[in-house]
Amino acid sequence: MVELPTLSEAETRDALVTCPFGDYELIDFGAGRRLERWGEFVVERPDRLAQGDPYDSNWEADWVFVEGVGRPGHWEPTRTGLPKEWTLTVGGDQILHCRLDAHGRVGLQTREIPCAEWIRQRIEGCYDLEDLRVLNLFGGAGYVTAQALKGGASVVHVEANRELIELARSNAGIGQVDYVQENVMDFVEHLLRQQQRFDLIVLPAPALGHGPRGQLWDREVDLPKLIKYLPRLVSENCLGVWLSTDSGAITWKAESLGQLLREVLPGCTIETLRLGVRAPDGRVLSAGVAARWYDETEFLQSGGMRLTAAQLEERLDTHMVSLGAAEEPARALAEFSRAQQDFVLRCVSMVGRTSAGMAFNFVSHVCGALHLMDEAGVEAWLLHCMDIYDTRGLHPAVAAFKAVESYARDYRERASGLALDEVVNVLEAFVHGLNGRRLRIEAGEQTYTDTETLFLPATIGRFVSRSENFQLYKAMVVHQWAQNWYGSWRLDVEAELESFDNPDAALACFHTLETLRLDARVREALPGVYRQMQQLRAGEHTDLATASWQQAAQQLSTPTARVQDSLALVAGLIAEPLPAPALYQGMLRPADVNRVRNARLDADRQAFRIGLLKMQNEASTAETPADDESLDNAGAESAAEQPEVRLRTVESQETPDGFSYQIELDGRPLPAPDNVKGTMASILQDLGEIPEDYLEAAGDGAYFAGDTGVRSAEDVWKGTYHEEGAYLYNEWDYERQNYRKNWAVLRELEVHPVHDHFVDRTLYKYRGLAMDLRRTFEALRGEDKLLKKQPYGDDIDIDALVEAFADTCHGEEMTERLFTKMHKLERNIAVMFMVDMSGSTKGWINDAEREALALLCESLETLSDRYAIYGFSGMTRKRCEIYRIKSFDEPYSEETRARISGIRPKDYTRMGVTIRHLTMLLNEVEARTKLLITLSDGKPDDYDTYRGAYGIEDTRMALIEAKRSGIHPFCITIDTEARAYLPHMYGAVNYAVIDEVRKLPLKVSDIYRRLTT
């Protein structure tokens, strides 16, 4: 005999009804009695399970049931005129009838509530509601029946008591329900004989009972027997069995119920429950025990009942590296609602596909996250961590998971405040509009500038309104810009303040002074912003505390005040109390500034000297008609006969100090190229002048010392694992429904040309076809055509006119078609061919592709459409490669032909990134019609996870992006199974499947012709 696994007590969970449940409420219980509110009336009645002392000893009930000794009990009203029947509403829309009966019952039994809830969920989670039958044994007052009907099932309601049947009828109505007043045991045997089966069976067994003809129901004897009948009562796709009873005797624990069920109905999930009602004081009044049986795998899709820790662990385990890792998180997760549990499970499976380590960290922190944020927030947090994982790896991502609290804080702030992300473009454009060096804007922990980047808080939630928060951002930007523009960093602030005993205090004092000075400058230059800054400070205490501060402010507000003046004042004011800082002033970080500034000063000096040298060389070569040689060693010669460079100060409103320089060569002004002008402006902004030593033009060494900053893609690839010189593209992850940022790394390489006369041979091979193609394509060529006899046009058609005159003389009607019109058939098409160079094309597919391209190029040359051809391949996201065969502006040359010949199969097909890159290239071309034609032999597929739905969805998204930017994608494939997925990616009509590889060369040109006419 097979021993069944036993159910352990630890598995049993509480299923509690929380009050108030609609109009029903358990007020108090104890000493064998319970006090309840049923709608308008409060009822007190006996309950064996109401153990312990009541919370309140003074119960004031409207109706009290008094048990008789040796005779039936009766109801006693506490005041006159109380009805014995009334109605109340529960569960939102269920109207229940109450009737005080002779057995002390009111109507609804509290154990019915969790049962009805579960039954209804089971029914509603089922797709096929056709003829869903529920058998409700011991149906009682009909709450479960009513709920099952509401779910859409039909019910057989069995109850021996006539009064209760009537009550059930008024509660559940009469549609879709059979009310059977019969002894349960007899009726079930009747059903078995009739071979009736049910999709849901509800069996709340009482301890004792009587049938209408006096038949006795004894739980201890009859229940095991009834349960044995169950396998013959359940339907093939039975949704579940509910078994419950009052836990009167020691034998009737939830586990024993479950065990009974398991013995007769093995193989499915059995859940054991302790039922109860929670009183307002927190105590639980037991309402019996229950066991339910159902097929859980199907339930997962639809259910609404919480999962137990064990169930959760089992599910989480599939995504974990080691068994048992999920134990603790599962326990924590068991506390959450089913919707939240499902959400977490969904997320885990999504993360688990990326990394098991990430999945573990996610579940370890998700409970905390769920306490802090709503689900949308948790999802955003998860995506944020996934992004970090994608870009920086597991460890930083784990740190991000751990930092859930600060993320949640930011998230809340973002919900109420303003995120930098939302306005960064506006702010960046704004600061570009102001004068001076290009300043970037980034989110930072602190608000400061390093003279090239402005660091701003990621969110601002200081004010209630978004516009005020935006104004604060703007004020911060202006203040930091002013530091840069009005020369706060022209001195080495760090060194200047070193001499103070307390450099930090000195820095704070200096910052306050600078804020005063800069505010004055802003007031003069940007009065609008200044007003807004003042408004932001409206709530603050802005008065300067002492007379010496006021004096300093006075002094610094003159337009000639310099940073030196602020610095000079520090010594006198450091001892004074510091005025409150402006909320937009952020902080100063002189060390960061020095690092950035020194690097820039060096670079600028170098660039300026090189610029000067170039200008000198150009000037001297222009003077002396130089031969080629002197150009080559211009560097060497120029040292000897270098014309003297001087700078003349000229007035300029473009610089903060009101002057700029004009470069003069031997006394003649020389127009500086833009880059030199830019460098000069940058130096002026940093130093306020151009020092003499900058004018010593750089020697040879320095000239070449400059890093050109351009490296070929191949060099980078040959070197280390570097993303330099490559294009980074996002990739769509359909599971996340979000982009993976900068996920795919793409390099543009060139096809190695093979000079083997492949194209010539192909043209010879297909010479008949080639001629045909040329003819058809010539017919397409856009040409001027003079259309005669037009109703309107540029000129008079004299021939038509003469004819018309003749007609009129004849007495005929004169035609209106008297004009000639020039009609230009303009073809304004740019087409991009994307050729699959994956390993799978090896052999004749590759040959066919190359032949097709050779013929196509010939045809396209006749048409003079602009076209480009790129091959693509790659392996993993880190190594996507695109091979240039012909770019748009390149003529079709011998070299191009050699490259067509040189197309060789490489690795895999990661299509999305290729499409994105080619879209970018195609968008740089101006054309009325833009086409992106893919020649492929199969589905998108790459070495890593880029296959199946993921690859298809990313490709599809890339194509959608392309379409959005006005490109028409089209796919020509030889994959005969492509009809299954191409319509999803390209749309119903934008693809062509070629059955035979042999036909590819013939077809491609033909398809192109059809596409573009």
Partner: protein
């Protein structure tokens, strides 16, 4: 009120159009005119090219015939065509032929917009031959010494399609225009609209901010013409920020974020 009807060649400018010379462009134009050389005006939109032409027409006391070029402008639109009148065909001169006959100044505005084949008909007029062949009537129209040809184009369009052919551009004396320096631009605005000088200064400051944005979000900065428009609105008591929004920001861009940024810039200045 009736609008005056004038033949183009009779349109003499009698009142001096206001023009502030930036450099020696007036002298150069006059020298080119006396030497019967055609002139090419380069520069961004709204920097005063057309105004300059009006000013020169007034100065030289010649009628100004302006043709705004568009991509459907054909050679016969310029030279002339046959029309039918009373059962007979009649030749009607196009604006270019009229200008040649009247010895006026023919100004082809935005020449790159015209079709390539159209620009070729001006070639014989623009070199030392100074003749206009009229193939359809079989005539050759020789230009009198007073005739002058001027074309304009904006090199700022970065489209390869909108470029002037070398064979065309190498026939012209080129004058480069740009936005005037700040003080001069403010003076122009004051003179054109009569707003207070301080306000004009701020307006110019704002214009420079938008010009800083050229290439990083804006195709072009605010032109002097736009500034004059804004100043006129301000003169009519429109709040400066709204005036800048309607007449400058909206004219420069449709991009929502850019509009906000430009608005914020104008709000910072006023």
């Amino acid at each position: 009120m009736t609008a005056q009807v004038l033949k183009p060649e009779e349109y003499f400018i009698t009142e001096e159009p206001y023009y502030e010379p930036v450099d020696n462009e007036i002298e150069i134009f006059e020298a080119a005119y006396t030497n019967q050389l055609p002139v090419l005006l380069k520069g961004p939109t709204g920097c005063g090219k057309t105004r300059f032409m009006e000013h020169m027409a007034w100065r030289l006391k010649r009628p100004l015939i302006t043709v705004s070029c568009h991509d459907d402008l054909t050679a016969s639109d310029l030279v002339g065509r046959f029309l039918i009148s009373g059962g007979e065909t009649v030749w009607v001169d196009g604006p270019l032929a009229r200008a040649v006959r009247a010895g006026g100044i023919c100004y082809l505005d935005e020449i790159v917009e015209a079709r390539k084949d159209t620009t070729v008909v001006i070639h014989p007029l623009a070199d030392d031959r100074r003749v206009l062949p009229m193939e359809k009537v079989g005539e050759l129209l020789e230009a009198p010494p007073e005739f002058c040809m001027a074309i304009s184009y904006n090199p700022g369009y970065q489209s390869v399609l909108k470029d002037l052919k070398q064979s065309t551009r190498q026939r012209f004396v080129a004058l480069e225009f740009d936005y005037p320096v700040a003080s001069l631009e403010a003076r122009i605005i004051v003179r054109e609209t009569g707003i207070p000088e301080a306000m004009a200064d701020q307006l110019v400051k704002f214009a420079h901010m938008t010009r800083n944005l050229k290439g990083s979000g804006l195709e072009e900065g605010a032109s002097t013409r736009l500034l004059v428009h804004a100043a006129k609105l301000m003169k009519s008591r429109v709040n400066p920020v709204s005036a800048c929004r309607s007449s400058i920001a909206q004219a420069l861009t449709d991009d929502a974020e850019m509009l906000i940024a430009v608005d914020e810039l104008s709000a910072s200045v006023f």
